[in-house]
């Protein structure tokens, strides 16, 4: 079935839907990972985005229940060069097409994804409409233009959990935050309260790995609710969209800074930056892939990281007397991580939990454990 992608700059791509009818209006972005499409599809940070994979052959190993990064697919539409209907892997349970259909997400193949990538690289992130309805291209372009876009829509409420819950190897029982400190089962080394702005499961798996009992909080949980839990540490998760729209998050974080050790990732890092008085800006076309080199300035080591972000904290706007730059991206020298010089908090822009991506940065979870131990 024919499918058309119209970009706001007027470019039209033609391809074929491999999932049947569908349509999506979203920001168009590309991801350069050669593996890990299922994790990408289920990463809540992709809310209101459609993703084109630069690697042309997608679907090769199917999908499997263990590789979910959240409860469902968040990507609005999935664009590939050549969909692979036949999958082969001992863990594979369902084909990608069945998986996408299960979540009602449009998959389109036959698009020159390299051309699309080059467009996005040269002109910057764009809004787009992809559809099997194939109306007049002009009209499609118009619709793409008129869509308000990520700069105006706060996506966090669309992906955060409705109710706090316990992480028990997977999403567990829902809990009532009013019970406060009593909620903890105290079988683990640390108690961590994790803000869910669109959290990936692998973060929770890593928190579990370092010996933490985790309660996952809705994005709008209040500082008071958190402090009543009396956790050993607070985690700020990744999430979709423009940090400037998540004002409630920033306000809450301001009240938590200095109270408990804080570790932030991605959107969590951006919100923390804002809470410390910094500003954020939109990158031209974002960093999305599993090969981004980041230098840990505290050790001089380079780590290859998984990234997925379109916004960035402006280094210049942070008070360098208060915070210390700890990580920098070697491709474009953008800020990738900082810590407070006196308060127990640190954060990174990228994804130490990987999934998909290299495991080089998982040590950061251990740093969080150290920080919690020290501050106890």
């Amino acid at each position: 079935m024919k499918a058309v992608l119209a970009l706001e700059d007027g470019t039209i791509f033609e391809g074929r839907s491999f999932t049947g009818e569908g349509e999506a209006l979203a920001e168009v972005c590309f991801n350069t990972s050669m593996t890990g499409y299922q994790e990408i599809l289920t990463d809540p940070s992709y809310k209101l985005q459609m993703v084109a994979m630069t690697y042309p052959l997608i679907g090769n190993y199917g999908t499997c229940p263990e590789d979910m990064e959240s409860g469902r697919v968040h990507v609005e539409a999935f664009i590939v060069k050549e969909y692979q209907p036949y999958f082969s892997n001992w863990r594979g349970r369902a084909s990608l097409v069945d998986f996408l259909k299960q979540y009602g997400v449009l998959g389109v193949e036959g698009i020159d994804t390299r051309r699309l990538t080059r467009k996005l690289r040269i002109y910057g992130a764009m809004k787009g409409l992809i559809s099997t309805r194939c109306e007049d291209p002009e009209a499609m372009v118009q619709k793409a233009r008129e869509w308000p876009g990520l700069d105006e829509i706060d996506c966090v409420p669309m992906v955060t959990c409705g109710q706090a819950y316990r992480w028990e190897g997977g999403p567990g029982q829902e809990v009532d935050l009013a019970q406060g400190d009593a909620l903890w089962q105290k079988k683990s080394q640390f108690k961590v309260a994790a803000f869910d702005y669109g959290i990936k499961y692998n973060i929770l798996r890593h928190l579990e790995r370092i010996g933490a009992e985790v309660i996952v909080l809705p994005a709008k949980a209040t500082a008071e609710e958190v402090l009543r839990l009396n956790p050993d540490g607070i985690f700020l998760s990744n999430g979709p969209g423009d940090p400037s729209l998540v004002t409630y998050g920033v306000e809450t974080i301001k009240d938590l800074i200095g109270q408990k050790p804080i570790f932030g990732i991605c959107l969590g890092h951006q919100l923390l930056g804002k809470a410390l008085g910094g500003t954020t800006y939109k990158l031209k076309f974002g960093h999305r892939g599993g090969n981004q080199p980041v230098k840990d300035l505290t050790t001089g080591r380079v780590e290859i990281t998984a990234q997925n972000h379109g916004y960035c904290v402006d280094l210049e706007t942070l008070d360098q007397d208060a915070v210390e730059l700890t990580h920098v991206n070697l491709n474009d020298n953008t800020l990738e991580g900082f810590r407070h010089r006196s308060l127990p908090l640190f954060c990174v822009q990228y994804h130490p939990e990987n999934s998909p991506g290299p495991h080089d940065a998982t040590y950061l979870f251990d740093r969080f454990a150290e920080l919690m131990t020290r501050e106890r």
Partner: protein, 1069 residues
């Protein structure tokens, strides 16, 4: 960290001659290393015995030693040059093993040389099977269960412990020499015997078999700051049990989820750290159980490798260059990425296409060798192809092989190899060189993916891709609708296949296609999947939307490369292509290189202004010509491949530079060639053309036996034989070639005892310079590529040399040669015969260039571009030293094959020896080729009757050198009759202890055996095989024996001295 300032001079060890499993990829890595380190201001000392390499060009290093790579010789170089460091990780296993030996000899310690790239402990830890096994256990990784043995007596107990099948693996070898799979105790014993011999340390590992598991490779780099990155992942199409060098391989890995891939990545990082590779590139191999994902580590190579060359070409990331920079102290984040210019080497390349590598084999050249692929590598070359789909890359890869196939099928060639279902099933279960096409046939015959998987263990994902291709063939037969047409091109179908499938012609398909607007586009290989702008123009074709070619309006010329290495067409031609490119750049013309061989320097993105990694077929080349519109195309440097394209390209108006295509036809067409010689009053051996046996017998009767026979339609001496009588000729005509009117057989009088002479010349249309005259050591009848030769000639009279020069000039003039030309003569006193004329670069051009200190291929290129030889100011050179070229053979890899030389070429590579006199130059060439001539001990002579008189003199001289002389009966009688003291030894069939017993008992240090012309006897054959197996030097012609004795005398009376080529040719720099 900045680069090291305490080091000024660095010794780089090359990999020596091209052999199976060690080919041009080490020239590629060596060249990168030389350039990278020169650029940093270091003084480079280089040793490599292979003259056909770009790395041994005088401008690559400061001091270039074309000397044998043996520990003793390298020690002399070290003593003479006093480098502060030695970089052994870029010259393959040869360099690594040499470094270990030098370390053990204490040479590094004595001269205060630091091994950079890999310390001796690291090399040992990676290469010693036992140490490696322990290291893996330390990082919690599993390796197949195994037992190390050091002697035959331990075999049985080990077998009981592991259980069959058992994989035998020697330590410190390359390409699996001496290894294999054993299914029973007898096999195992035999294999262990061979393996213990092949291993440098007499150490063998018997290992649990994981055949059928999936095989993967990761290319890893590490710097002194402990930053580690993966450059590329490679998935083998063939399962474990087929050597990766013999496997079709695919990049990136296709059937791993991210979770599994990352575990493999973690393991590679852990291995790098545990083994302790401080800087540089390494290769780690894994096997994965397809049923449950269990992972085992197979091996790691702490050096750049064939796979790293492939990974570099597949990703655009120059591993060897970066490895060299890391070795002198830089860290990855300090080295800029040439391609993007804005990023650094500390990242992991990501690719947005699929890469397929397909090996090329030459079993047909080794009758008696089984066409079977196992754990010991057999392929002699490989082609790489790039596509946006696996199917496209796969079919492009198949036609890149230049074996007459244009894709998986549908090219009209399937019938020729059709097997019955039963045969096919057997064939599928025994991996062999025809596997790809057999899989195609199996799918066409309706075997299911599951059935084929059960027989081959090939991952169903790949089989499905092949099935899609086969299914599309059917659709194509139904008619080329625009959709099917487009899809077919996106899936790599060539116009030729489409023509066959639809009953059309390639030309018609082409115009139909262009009319339908279906044209290839060219995309960039940029290391980053377009995330950053790329500056190095490295392209591949595909059928997609956007074209990225940035055509310029500068003057530009296209060079067609030589494709995959094969016996007869290898690195020598790539050398010439690179020089064409260098020459063009010297005169300010842009160069566009087209080639499909990932091992080469020509496919380095640094070599030419633009690189197209494409198959060298008419269609693919014409497409690039249309995209680039060069002012001309150079076809005479890439060997036969581009030469074959010259006529069709010429026909459609593509300007061919240099010698006109018609001259090629005049040299190759029998009748026209005869007329040409006649006109110039030159002689040819009496000859005739036969289309059936009767005619052949008639011709043979007319010209007299023995005769040289060959099919007219094959090249490189393929299926060429010397035939001695009617019975033999009858067999040849009916069995070997099946002559027919379309496929006549050429019959020449065999010129007995003639001296063969190779001449390379360059002409500009007016003048012709003789670049070099080489006198062959072996007589005519041994293929020029297999014969040793000397420049200048050693025995030719001045008059003859004048005659040779004049004949050559006349030929060049008459053919209108502009560029290079090669003539082969046979001198049978008093007549000079012309054997053949090749109006193109020959295999000997690099050797001649090194011997004379003149870059002849560059000179030829400039001549083609209109610069006369006069303007260029080049002159003929008479060097003041003797250069000897010696060929290197792959016999050890083909058990059961006789080592005799004939008119069909068998060598894979060559070495060069340079010295003041012939004896020492020949001695060096022998050392370089791995013939370690003894200085004392026993020599056995066993020669045919006509060689007996000559043998007497040799025996005398050997006696004088203090050798004990042994001989088989008749030879012994002849020697004794002439007064030589000799011990008679029985042949194998004459009782024991026979000659081979003595060889095994280490009483024999040199074998001189010249087989009597016809059917060589089994006895003699076994003796030669034994020599090969026991690594005893052997000689099979009297001429070579003479040269060998001269060399032994030189070694006995003089010290072997080393001298860099910069000192041999001080004027040419």
């Amino acid at each position: 960290m900045p680069k090291r300032e305490d080091i000024k001079k660095i010794l780089i060890i090359g990999s020596g001659p091209i052999i199976i499993s060690q080919a041009c990829e080490f020239d590629y890595s060596g060249v990168q290393a030389c350039k990278a380190l020169r650029e940093e201001g270091y003084e480079i000392v280089l040793v490599n015995s292979n003259p056909a390499t770009i790395m041994t060009d005088p401008e690559m290093a400061h001091r270039t030693y074309i000397e044998p790579i043996t520990p003793q010789v390298v020690a002399k170089i070290i003593e003479q040059e006093r480098p502060q460091a030695c970089l052994p990780t870029l010259g393959g296993q040869t360099a690594l093993n040499t470094a270990v030996a030098l370390d053990e000899m204490g040479v590094f310690e004595k001269f205060q040389v630091e091994l950079i790239g890999a310390r001796p402990e690291v090399i040992k830890k990676a290469e010693d099977r036992d140490l490696f096994r322990k290291a893996m256990a330390n990082c919690g990784l599993r390796v197949p269960r195994s037992v190390i043995i050091t002697q035959l007596s331990e075999v049985e107990a080990a077998a009981a412990e592991i259980g069959f099948p058992i994989i035998v693996r020697p330590a410190f070898t390359l390409g699996g020499t001496g290894g294999g799979v054993s299914y029973n105790l007898d096999d195992l014993r035999a294999q262990c015997e061979a393996g213990l011999k092949a291993s440098m340390t007499s150490q063998l590992m018997l290992e649990e078999s994981v055949m059928g598991w999936k095989e993967y490779e990761l290319e890893v780099m590490r710097d002194l700051n402990d930053n580690v990155v993966i450059i590329c992942s490679i998935e083998n199409f063939d399962a474990m049990g087929v050597h990766t060098g013999d496997s079709i391989t695919v990049a990136p890995a296709q059937t791993l989820t991210d979770r599994e891939y990352q575990l493999m990545r973690d393991a590679s990082l852990a291995i790098m750290r545990e083994i302790g590779v401080e800087t540089g590139g390494s290769n780690v191999q894994f096997a994965i159980n397809p049923k449950n994902g269990e992972m085992v580590v197979i091996e790691m190579n702490p050096r750049v490798s064939r796979s790293s060359a492939l990974a570099s070409k597949a990703t655009g990331f120059p591993i060897a260059k970066i490895a060299a920079k890391l070795a002198v102290g830089y860290s990855l984040d300090e080295i800029p990425n040439d391609i993007t210019q804005e990023t650094y080497a500390s990242f992991e390349p990501t690719i947005d296409y699929c890469v397929v590598k397909i090996p090329r084999w030459t079993f047909e050249k080794f009758p008696g060798a089984k066409d079977e692929l196992t754990t010991s590598m057999r392929s002699v070359g490989e082609a790489m192809s790039i596509g946006r789909t696996f199917k496209e890359a796969f079919q492009k890869g198949l036609r890149s092989l230049e074996t007459g196939r244009f894709g998986l099928g549908g090219d009209g060639k399937e019938k020729a190899e059709a097997l019955s279902l039963e045969e096919l099933k057997t064939a599928l279960a025994t991996p062999n060189s025809q596997r790809g096409f057999q899989l195609g046939q199996a799918l066409r015959m309706g075997l299911t993916i599951q059935e084929i998987h059960d027989l081959t263990w090939i991952d169903p994902w790949f089989l499905f891709q092949m099935k899609q291709i086969i299914d599309l063939e059917e659709e194509i037969k139904g008619g080329l609708t625009p959709e099917v047409f487009r899809k077919a091109k996106e899936w790599g179908f060539s116009d030729l296949q489409l023509a066959h499938l639809t009953g059309s012609t390639p030309d018609r398909i082409r115009s139909q296609r262009l009319e339908a607007g279906i044209r290839p586009v060219y995309k960039l290989v940029d290391t980053c999947a377009a995330e950053f702008e790329a500056y190095t123009p490295y392209y591949y074709s595909t059928y997609d939307e956007e074209d990225e070619v940035r055509a310029t309006d500068k003057r530009k010329v296209m060079i067609l490369g030589g494709g995959p290495n094969r016996i007869g067409q290898g690195i020598e031609f790539d050398y010439c292509c690179c020089h064409a490119s260098f020459a063009l750049s010297e005169i300010g013309v842009e160069s566009i290189m087209v080639n499909s061989n990932p091992e080469t320097v020509s496919t380095d993105y640094d070599t030419s202004d633009r690189l197209y990694f494409e198959p060298l077929t008419y269609e693919d080349v014409l497409n690039i010509i249309e995209a680039e519109k060069p002012e001309g195309v150079i076809v005479q440097f890439g060997g036969q491949t581009p030469l074959n394209l010259s006529v069709p390209l010429d026909r459609v108006g593509v300007p061919i530079l240099g010698t006109p295509p018609d001259a090629i036809d005049r040299a190759e067409d029998r009748e026209r060639f005869q007329k040409l010689l006649h006109k110039l009053d030159l002689k040819q051996p009496p000859n005739g053309i036969a289309v059936n046996t009767a005619e052949a017998l008639e011709i043979a009767d007319r010209i007299g036996y023995p005769v040289v026979v060959r099919p007219s339609y094959v090249l490189g001496g393929r299926a060429m034989e010397i035939v001695y009588d009617d019975k033999d000729l009858d067999r040849y005509m009916s069995e070997a070639v099946q002559a027919s009117p379309e496929h006549p057989v050429l019959i020449d009088k065999y010129l007995k005892n003639a001296i063969e002479i190779d001449v390379d010349a360059v002409a500009d249309g007016r003048d012709c310079l003789i670049a070099g005259i080489m006198e062959h050591i072996e007589e005519a009848g041994v293929h020029s590529g297999d014969s040793a030769c000397s420049l200048p000639p050693i025995s030719l009279s001045p008059e003859l040399i004048v005659e040779i020069k004049e004949s050559t000039r006349a030929l060049a003039k008459e053919l209108g040669v502009v560029g290079l030309m090669n003539v082969q003569y046979a001198f049978q006193a008093p007549t000079l015969f012309v054997l053949e004329v090749n109006p193109r670069a020959s295999r000997t051009v690099p050797f001649v260039s090194k011997a004379t200190g003149t870059p002849w291929a560059k000179v030829a290129t400039k001549a083609m571009m209109g610069l006369s030889l006069k303007e260029q100011g080049v002159k003929e050179v008479t060097p003041g030293h003797v250069s000897v070229k010696e060929a290197v053979f792959p016999f050890a890899r083909f058990p059961g094959v006789d080592v005799l030389l004939g008119p069909e070429m068998k060598s894979t590579g060559e070495v060069m020896g340079i010295d003041a006199d012939f004896g020492m130059a020949f001695a060096k060439s022998q050392l370089g080729a791995g013939q370690y001539l003894p200085s004392s001990g026993g020599v056995v002579l066993s020669v045919k009757d006509e060689d007996k008189p000559g043998a007497v003199d040799l025996a005398r001289r050997l006696s004088a050198l203090g050798f004990e002389i042994f001989a088989t009966s008749a030879t012994a009688d002849a020697l004794r009759g002439a007064g030589v003291k000799v011990t008679k030894v029985p042949k194998i069939s004459e009782g024991r202890p026979h000659i081979v017993d003595r060889m095994i008992n280490k009483k024999i240090d040199l074998v001189i055996n010249t087989p009597s012309g016809k059917q060589a006897s089994m006895d003699a054959r076994d003796m030669r095989r034994a020599a090969l197996r026991l690594s005893i030097p052997y000689v099979t012609t009297l001429a070579a024996a003479r040269a060998t004795v001269a060399a032994m005398e030189a070694l006995c009376y003089r010290e072997l001295k080393v001298k860099p080529i910069q000192d041999h040719h001080p004027e040419s720099i």
